[in-house]
Symmetry: C2
Subunit: 226 residues, 2 copies
DNA sequence: GCAAAAGTGTTCAATGTACACCCATGC
DNA sequence: GCATGGGTGTACATTGAACACTTTTGC
């Protein structure tokens, strides 16, 4: 099937959040080519004819940042005809939260990227295209999701303390939470398994470690910290 | 810019709900052409290069069903490579609720449609492509939205009774609600304006009429009937 | 012994839920 | 006068929000 007219192009873009040094961060790559050469953008790329959108998002993320094995949730499709300066590019945006330890950021040779880096969400550099808008939308959606299901578990190691969990909520929601209410809510929600292990004192009193109950991670209904 | 290879095609599909004869219904059109000639599908069509996705959805809906002047909310983008039998077609789905009175369904001559009709959501005919899945997803999303904001107002005339409002909630959620709790919740939510008008007796006791307070329609937070 | 983070309960307000009878009208 | 749908209030349980002190450890 030949197509001799100008056509739509379809890309996927990924908004990957993490927490580093007590800051909420998002992963950006620096463009190697025009348009917007040298500008920061979200990791993204063209969808192949034979792959699903989800697969495209995973592949592109792997090529441009070396991140893999994660759950990407579809966020929104941005299709303003003017969002790309020279072509009609419609992009399906995805988002995810991950732990940034034990990840080695890197990129394939042909990935049109010259740099990969975490940037504070509240302190973004100038971004190409409409990627600032996409990130803001992703932050909004992440907060909404957090009220219903404990997606913050994706940010934490398997075993974590309640203080670490609370900290991740506070950074995402950009507000402080009451320690006693936070713990009461989580402990009564039956989502955590209390372990008989403790942090090996980074000085100060050791804290008890918990794990998420895998079964309840995605099935939990009800509000969390509106 | 010429493109000599097979390409992605981009469509929009719209899932339009209404209530008719105490049933939740969705609008379907019958296809005039292959593939799936003669099958029912959602009203949908190709996105033009110069229009936004939202505009494309509005235009296509107008062409294929004559419905206009409504708010379409983006639902999800479906991009499985096998969802269309002969091409790679990615579709951005939209949904809306409308009142079906005072609408004259019809379609443009070149709209590739031979029929437009409301169908019960729980009693769908065989559908082309993955449109059954899209409708199911739209129903799920509509229910989630209803818990937060009173989108049912789009189904009702400007002036309505509390019983009509409750009925629309019950049909969307597919469950019965307590009359006193329903009324208490809505009246205390400060979303309705109580009018000094009553239904002119379709027999039985006249019912008071209400209007939505325009200001609060989309700003209201909090759960509605989980 | 003191600095630092961990851990712990109660009270009050608001919201959700269950539930049954009287009212106004048309016929 | 009776059948039909309209309209109303209370008691109880659950949830959310505010709030301060004791415990354990490393140094």
């Amino acid at each position: 099937m030949f197509n001799l007219t100008k056509t739509h192009e379809i890309t996927v873009d990924t908004v990957i959040f993490t927490i580093q040094k007590d800051k909420l961060k998002v992963l950006l790559v620096k463009r190697a080519n025009e348009p917007f050469k040298g500008k920061w953008t979200l990791p993204g790329g063209y969808v192949k004819l034979s792959e699903t959108l989800d697969d495209a998002a995973l592949r592109v993320l792997k090529e441009k940042t070396n991140i893999q094995n994660l759950y990407l949730e579809q966020l929104y499709t941005f299709g303003n005809p003017l969002r790309h300066p020279s072509a009609r590019v419609i992009t399906v945006a995805y988002f995810a939260l991950i732990r940034s330890d034990d990840i080695n950021l890197s990129f394939d040779k042909n990935s049109e990227v010259t740099q990969v880096e975490w940037h504070g969400v509240y302190n973004l550099p100038p971004l190409a295209f409409d990627h600032k808008e996409i990130i803001e939308y992703a932050v909004k959606r992440m907060r909404e999701r957090l009220e219903f299901c404990p997606i913050a578990y994706q940010l934490l190691p398997q075993k974590f303390t309640l203080t670490e969990l609370q900290k991740s909520y506070e950074l995402i929601l950009a507000q402080n939470l009451d320690k006693r209410n936070f713990r009461k809510k989580f402990l009564s929600a039956d989502m955590l398994k209390e372990l008989d292990e403790y942090t090996k004192s980074g000085s100060k009193r050791p804290a008890r470690l918990y794990e998420f109950n895998k079964i309840t991670i995605n099935s939990k209904r009800g509000h969390f910290f509106s």
